[in-house]
């Protein structure tokens, strides 16, 4: 296993659409192990996508279990936890609700911003052995899956920023 180099924007690979995985072989399993080790070596990271290490394949890993136990925000308190999810060729089948939360990215150092994501999603994905699974995610875990799945379509959270001022304003005016 190895910790891989994380590429950062403006590396053009982060803006490209990744290809589906077709071979569920040892090479794939070895890469997934490296990708997971890379995520674990990155402080605070709850997910990683293959394009972030320069590999344009539809593979992401999400594991929010270390974070949601801290229960700091409502989104974390409401979060599902499916443990360490290795999602190959993930497809988000349903998405409901809209929640704004703060995101940062290993590939975009020194900036965080507010992003609106679906509050709950259901998805299908394959595991490294090629078995198909269904998942339901909500809260912080749903946010993490959507953030990582975006990487597979060449999208960064920078593509989805919302103005904090506008959102705040709407929220306050509603409550007056």
């Amino acid at each position: 296993m190895a910790v891989l180099e994380v590429v950062s924007y403006p590396d053009e690979r982060l803006k490209r659409v990744s290809d589906p995985v077709v071979q569920f072989d040892e090479a794939l399993q070895s890469f997934v192990a490296d990708l997971e080790q890379t995520m674990r070596a990155s402080p605070g990271a709850v997910g990683i996508a293959a394009p972030q290490v320069g590999r344009l394949q539809r593979i992401v890993i999400v594991d929010v279990s270390s974070v949601i136990n801290r229960n700091r925000t409502k989104e974390q308190q409401n979060s599902s936890s499916n443990g360490c999810m290795i999602l190959i060729n993930p497809e988000i089948a349903r998405a409901e609700g809209r929640v704004v939360g703060r995101e940062g990215c290993l590939s975009v150092p020194d900036f965080t911003g507010n992003v609106a994501r679906a509050a709950a999603i259901s998805l299908t994905a394959f595991d490294p052995a090629g078995r198909r699974h269904e998942y339901r995610c909500k809260g912080f875990e749903a946010r993490a899956v959507q953030h990582e799945a975006d990487h597979l379509d060449g999208l960064l959270f920078l593509d989805r920023l919302v103005s904090p001022r506008e959102l705040f304003r709407r929220k306050i005016y509603r409550s007056i």
């Binding site: 925000t73 409502k74 939360g101 940062g104 993490a144 007056i176």
Partner: protein, 180 residues
């Protein structure tokens, strides 16, 4: 980097205010670009219908020459320009860990009161915007704050209760930044 690029550059804070109209930012920043300046972080907003901007400007020029660079634009658009030499660094953002929104019937001293108790409770304000909403005879003061709570969130919660007793509604939302 060649020899000519090795002249020492320093940071300035350029503040520009005036009557708002379309195209001010474009004209100011074009003049700075043509004068060989780099821009760092900036913040522009309209306050009471006025144009305001603060810009980090990096330049090897003295502040009087910077003033000269934007002078023609400022004169043409009747803008006031103020320039300070500053110590500045990029790529060292402090992440906020709490967002606080507050509102109440407007009255003299409301900002001092709110920020005073928040400072006492250990809040370092990283970003603050406030607005006067409502109507002329019933103004409502609204504040939106991003901050870093040095002493944790709990200390802040109790001071927000105190504000509530004095007619200021407050909502505290912890920020947990997703990194992925």
């Amino acid at each position: 980097m060649n020899q000519s690029e090795q002249r020492t550059k320093s940071w300035y804070m350029m503040t520009v205010v005036g009557k708002d109209r379309p195209g001010i930012v474009a004209r100011l920043t074009q003049a700075l670009f043509e004068g060989g300046c780099n821009l760092g972080e900036t913040s522009m907003t309209r306050l009471g219908g006025n144009f305001t901007i603060m810009m980090m400007v990096e330049s090897d020029a003295e502040s009087t020459r910077l003033q000269g660079l934007v002078g023609p634009v400022a004169d043409a658009l009747a803008l006031h320009v103020h320039i300070d030499s500053i110590q500045a660094r990029l790529h060292e953002h402090t992440e906020p860990n709490v967002q606080i929104s507050l509102y109440g019937a407007d009255r003299a001293g409301i900002v001092a009161e709110v920020t005073g108790v928040l400072a006492e409770a250990g809040l370092n304000i990283l970003d603050l915007n406030s607005e006067v909403a409502g109507t002329g005879d019933k103004p409502v003061y609204i504040m939106m704050i991003d901050g870093y709570a040095e002493g944790g969130i709990e200390a802040l919660k109790s001071v927000l209760e105190r504000l509530k007793a004095r007619g200021i509604e407050a909502t505290l939302t912890p920020i947990a930044t997703l990194v992925g």
